[in-house]
Symmetry: C2
Subunit: 348 residues, 2 copies
Amino acid sequence: MSRPTIADVARLAGVSKSTVSRVLNENMHYMRPETRERVAQAISVLGYNPSSVARSLISKRTHAVGLLVSDISNPFYADVIHGVEDVAIARGYDVFLCNTNYDVKRGAAYARSLVAKQVDGVIIMTSNVSDEWMQDLVRCQVPVVILDWDTRCLPGGVMRSILIDFDAGIQAAVDHLLSLGHRRLAHVSGPLRYPTSRQRLDSFLHALSRRGIDPASVTAIEGNLRIDGGVSALQKIMAMPNRPTAVFTANDLMALGMIWSAAGKGIQIPEDLSVIGLDDISLAGDIHPPLTTVSLPRYEIGRLAMNMLLEVQNDPAILDRLPDRHCTVQSGFSVRKTTAAPCTHVKE
Amino acid sequence: MSRPTIADVARLAGVSKSTVSRVLNENMHYMRPETRERVAQAISVLGYNPSSVARSLISKRTHAVGLLVSDISNPFYADVIHGVEDVAIARGYDVFLCNTNYDVKRGAAYARSLVAKQVDGVIIMTSNVSDEWMQDLVRCQVPVVILDWDTRCLPGGVMRSILIDFDAGIQAAVDHLLSLGHRRLAHVSGPLRYPTSRQRLDSFLHALSRRGIDPASVTAIEGNLRIDGGVSALQKIMAMPNRPTAVFTANDLMALGMIWSAAGKGIQIPEDLSVIGLDDISLAGDIHPPLTTVSLPRYEIGRLAMNMLLEVQNDPAILDRLPDRHCTVQSGFSVRKTTAAPCTHVKE
DNA sequence: CTGAAAGCGCTAACAT
DNA sequence: ATGTTAGCGCTTTCAG
């Protein structure tokens, strides 16, 4: 016994399919309560459930959106996803989660599949975006909201972006470090082929030069945004002859890697080395010592993204009325316990 | 300019829709290479992408599955999701991620929505499952794979389950603790209204009595499977007059909570208290001290779930041939650094 | 080897 | 107030 269709209901109720359709989409013209009742009966007897596939074919809407992230095991995304999902569910949408795993090919495959599935929109939150992905999305005019990416290089699409202003938070972090007396600083970046990695590095360097510190004096280490990236960065730093007394990492995960491997090696944090992360994942406040970090409104970013998507989707013309195709969210700074004054007498 | 349809391609190539359809589904009859070539041209010129909505209407398949999890911020799920997704993508499926957030209502809403979307199957990995969810799934004969749940209470559906044999891992953990000399033990469980919480507790108790320890001697604390649950459990334990020297938690997250809050209070782990978790999330080996824990093959569970789903889905009759509707995965045990002999002289 | 025609389950004019 | 008709984009007989 297969799923009942609208025709089955109509037959059982002794009416036409359109009548059934009308009681389904209540907004239509009035009808005899008696008829409506008979149809309702038939529906519940059959356990009828309208096929959203058939509906989508007509309405061109699927009430589904795609969400591309680069690393689902990064707690940063857990919070963002939460935000996306909360507004999605409130508005009757479902979310296709697509984990690119930092793999551009996979991202492209997902983009294609999402287009084929005719999702009503796509949210992109990956560190690297390939033009290749965008082709299908742009051509089919799929509404897109993209996080932390310069959309000027992505013309023609129904596209909005959420930009992150890292400067405020990073400046606060730098000032904090400077006021503590640190002068030899290091930065562990993400892969430098990701624009956002460069952006975070530049923001750090600028914040420094704004305070009269020579950017050339900072030790820059390229990491991978994962825990083990922090582990090996720490190794490099500790091996330096005149090593930095404080390090700023491009994300929290790498900071955690440093902190934990430091503990394993008997290196004291913050006494021997101050560390500051970026993201403020919820773990950051839980660990010991709790991580001082540049904070991002993760849950809000998720909500915002989904809301922006629904906005364009319900009214694509909004893009022409809007002054800007992007929103900017601010970074903040949470001082916790992984920073302290440098311990000058320890010059091994 | 809207999405190109098969008719557009046909027109441009100067052939009929059926011919285009044939080159799309390559398996069909031979055709003149010249024609095939012309169609291929047209397809790429237009950037044509067949509508999977229209296809689904005919084939009754959406190539999408739903994945219900209870807490996306638990790294355990990150690994499982990874496994599900890897086989999904390899087989051309997309995944609807549904995060119930431990909310039964939300789970029900998701189940309904997934049925309406006509997903080809659903994977359920939530600690608590309501019969309410199942009604729609069962009625529409949606294939379901469910993790860590006794399916005997869920009759009638196209349903398989993955059971976890906690006993082996937990027995190893108990033996490890006993051989270290611990006699006063505690268990921090999940909410006891979740069957899996009881199961883990019982398994622990049995392992103990199997070694001649009175189960009544263990301190049982009901937790919430989250970090803060571990934090408050530690508080309770440390306040006890003749406190346990070792604690086994129902999941790693609570163990992490204990470890970190212990560090903040100057409690030494494992010297003052041994702790053993369960899950073996990837963080477990990264933190300091690395967590001794009962391990589960998380990624493999994800792969297995998706594979089992595909299996029933491609051949629902398989259920009648199979000796069992369930698979069992084994737990293991990873000794790391959060366990040590009890420090008897410290009897505060 | 290719085209014409009939639907899949539903909605939306247009009739009645 | 309800029924009829014509598709949505695609696959699939069945002819040619």
